[in-house]
Symmetry: C2
């Protein structure tokens, strides 16, 4: 009882009185306790332990851990885009503006960004919404992307990665108690930032299921079902869409987006469209349609009314600059007073990292055909996106050769989310261990092969189905090794737990 | 009613049904509405408007706006520390590692940081706690700062500026309902991040007043008073201290820190010590004592039990790198399970900006005497801190020559928080306008002189007293102009509202 250890929650003071810890699992904010975030969950912790063990000479049935758990391109060997890094380096150390080893277009970008910074320094706070000229560049970019649909830089907010923007908008929307508590519609499977933020804010999570049998398409009837059911116990106020999909890799059709927007219009829902993978479309049959452009094409009655926030990031696309924590959001039709409240909320955290803003600026303002860095920039961009497209196809193909694994086409984003057949005996064993069957599967996979994936249960899936999420980011050679090891593991796993039942394809 | 304007909250659909906005002032999260953040409040917005007006040729009784509202060093002309920017540039564009124009010690730092990054790229996510080797460097720095008090890098977490760490720790600590709701003790005057976070989390704010008549010292009796009073209606769980003080500029004595820690020990309080100004001590009679070192010197019964989180940042000190959003926190005696929960909470936001982490690394790991950048680094550091010390003294001296203004010594940090006498007739006028008297004062000051300060009411002050916060960051020449204009304005203001009463000194 009277221990001095930091692990004891109660110690005896010299005066004989008890000193309890202020912060224990019992007194911890229950909303924090409720948060789950599988992308960096127990599997990843274990992978780190194994990696350290390997370095210290521990024996494992493999020589390296292959991390396919997180969309972290550079960690998997993708090289930074030279032009982007040149601009950031110039902004960071402006003496380089005099160096002849930097191209003029990179210098021009850096000068423009620094002009927009207080004291012409990346070290100044920017306005909470971000540097003005970067917001202007983003608006121009969006107009071009959306073939002339007007974009007002007053509606652009730089963010600390897309996550920060998503959490800020959700925070605005959560209110009410009991049956009038805000409900947030999210796809299942989803990216667990959404469920984590909803838990933390004690909002109501409303699941709408994507249609696995139809390439993870969003089914409007399912939206209606989920909405009607939720209305019984909460106030649905916002619908979140991830397009291209994370973890599911699908690209939404224009028709589907129209249906979602019509639904949001009819039901007074705020639309949050997570479009961080807008540059990651691989399937020749698919095309990225921004929610904003589709809304515009539906006519002014829609375009002037539906409240929409769209999110983008430096972390994905062809640049993969996760560490810079750059991103932006564009908001449409936000009430003016609410907008002032949003700025106030953002201002408490002062501003997004300015070097991340600079990185964002390069992504929306890349070299033009007449500029010196144009050729190299496009060569690098094409190389990244080409390799990703190739790996997307290879992943789907190899996975679909494995009995008991079924993988939808990876149309976009950076992930496959295949369905895996887990034999009933393995399901029983997992249940008896108190873990989800796909968690057991992924743990065994990690221990036996060194491959680190995230169980489907971390993203949500239909009851009784099992999946994992894997990134397509390892190099082509490593990805091939990964997929082959995975195939062998899966076949062995099926055999080990074989029962009379046939594995389903 | 059937307007198409984005400002209308209700529109008529084509089918004749009403479409309401989802997000209005009525449906906005009330906790967001309750947030106040004066440092970027209405005065600052107005200053921006005036600045734009000046650029467009509007006439004002001045030619430039002088912003002394925010601790934004570079925006006020302070130059970045060369060595820090060299390291960040090298990390951003590693091809520069081959350039002969960068010193070897900067290259060595950059190589070490990149070694710690996935794929050796600043563009990878780091672990949620930050890059391992940077955490290790921080632990070494803390041990040196605290003359050998042990620091474990497992207790170090990189953050997105200090604000992010402060909000994360507070979030862990907030729980309970009604009388068992968590209470957070904060100094008054305070830095409004605290009150904003407390509002947002619906915790209970417990004010303890700093002693203005005693150089804004923290009075232990006042702590007891505030605590006992608060216990009646909430569960006080945490005490926040800002040392050196923001907005008040005092530096706490070792004795005072001991008293606070003893109090926290006795009352089972979690201690949050905001020490972002630890390098900003100007008064020769004052010295920075970290809460951790003082706790250590109180003996193992204290050092092994009191839960302490200490915060630091790249934004202040001599580097003033606000835009990089770098920072760290060190936690002591955190329950191990709670620690895992903290990591989980941080992991939802993935990681702090890696370039900010790199900047933090340079601050804790500056050039050593035998290294090539040593002399220049120390020359630059001394120049910044020397100028700040000079401006701290000048600010206090000039302000104290003005009748009706009384300014405590600016012992540390970057701010003066002088008390201003506002004549009763002016107070009445402000009340009739529905604004606080110091807000009216600062608005008039801005309109008449172009000087942008923050009213004391944004930080909290004893009822019936009025203050403003001003930074000491403008260049010496500009600061002198500012102080003289302020003096003239104040004298004119007193005259204008003169009554029979004498202004108090």
């Amino acid at each position: 009882l009277a221990s001095q250890s930091t692990e004891a929650t109660v110690v005896l003071r010299e005066n004989g009185k008890m000193r309890e810890k202020s912060l224990t699992m019992d007194t911890l904010n229950p909303q924090v306790k409720a948060v789950e975030y599988a992308v960096r969950g127990p599997i990843v912790t274990k992978a780190g332990d194994i990696e350290r063990g390997l370095q210290q000479g521990q024996k494992h049935p493999f020589t390296e851990v292959i991390k396919a758990n997180i969309g972290d391109s550079h960690a998997m060997g993708q090289k930074p885009i030279t032009f982007l890094r040149q601009v950031v380096a110039l902004c960071s150390f402006p003496e380089l503006l005099d160096s002849s080893s930097f191209p003029e277009d990179a210098k021009q970008r850096a000068r423009r960004i620094l002009q927009g910074c207080g004291g012409q320094s990346l070290g100044s706070y920017s306005a909470s919404q971000g540097v003005d000229c970067i917001r202007q560049d983003i608006a121009v970019y969006i107009e071009q992307r959306d073939k002339g649909v007007p974009a007002d830089w007053d509606n652009i907010y730089l963010t600390t990665g897309a996550s920060d923007g998503i959490v800020s908008i959700l925070k605005m929307l959560v209110s009410g108690q009991g049956r009038s508590r805000s409900g947030v519609m999210i796809p299942i499977p989803q990216y667990p930032l959404y469920s984590a933020a909803i838990s933390e804010m004690e909002a109501v999570q409303i699941n709408y299921y994507l249609d696995e049998d139809n390439c993870w398409a969003l089914d409007i009837n399912e939206l209606h079902r989920a909405y009607q059911a939720a209305k019984e116990h909460c106030h649905p106020r916002v619908i979140c869409i991830i397009n291209p999909g994370n973890p599911t890799g699908q690209v939404q059709s224009k028709k589907c987006i129209e249906e979602v927007l019509h639904f949001a219009y009819e039901e007074n829902l705020f639309v949050m469209s997570d479009e961080v993978y807008q540059d990651n479309v691989y399937s020749p049959d698919c095309q990225f349609h921004s929610f904003k452009k589709v809304l515009y094409e539906m006519g002014p009655e829609y375009f002037n009314t539906v409240e929409l926030a769209s999110f983008h990031s430096t972390s994905k696309g062809y640049s993969g600059e996760c560490g810079f924590r750059g991103g932006y959001m564009e908001v449409l039709n936000l009430d003016l007073e609410v907008k002032a409240q949003l700025v106030k909320l953002l201002s408490v955290r002062l501003c997004p990292p300015v070097s991340g803003q600079a990185a964002m600026d390069v992504i929306v303002n890349p070299p033009l055909p007449h500029e010196p860095s144009y050729l190299q920039f496009h060569k690098e961009k094409r190389a990244v996106l080409g390799a990703l497209a190739e790996k997307a196809q290879m992943t789907e193909q190899i996975l679909n050769t494995v009995p008991g694994i079924k993988c939808n086409p990876v149309q976009g984003a950076m992930y496959a989310f295949p369905r895996i057949f887990i034999p009933p005996r393995a399901v029983e064993e997992a249940m008896s261990l108190g873990i989800s069957p796909d968690m057991m599967y992924c743990l065994r996979l990690l221990e036996e092969t060194g491959i680190c994936l995230v169980p489907g249960s971390g993203f949500g899936q239909r009851e009784g189905t099992y999946h994992f999420r894997m990134t397509i980011l390892p190099t082509t050679e490593k990805l091939k090794v990964l997929l082959e090891k995975l195939r062998d593991f899966h076949i062995k796993f099926l055999k080990e737990y074989a029962s009379l039942e046939e594995p389903k394809r």
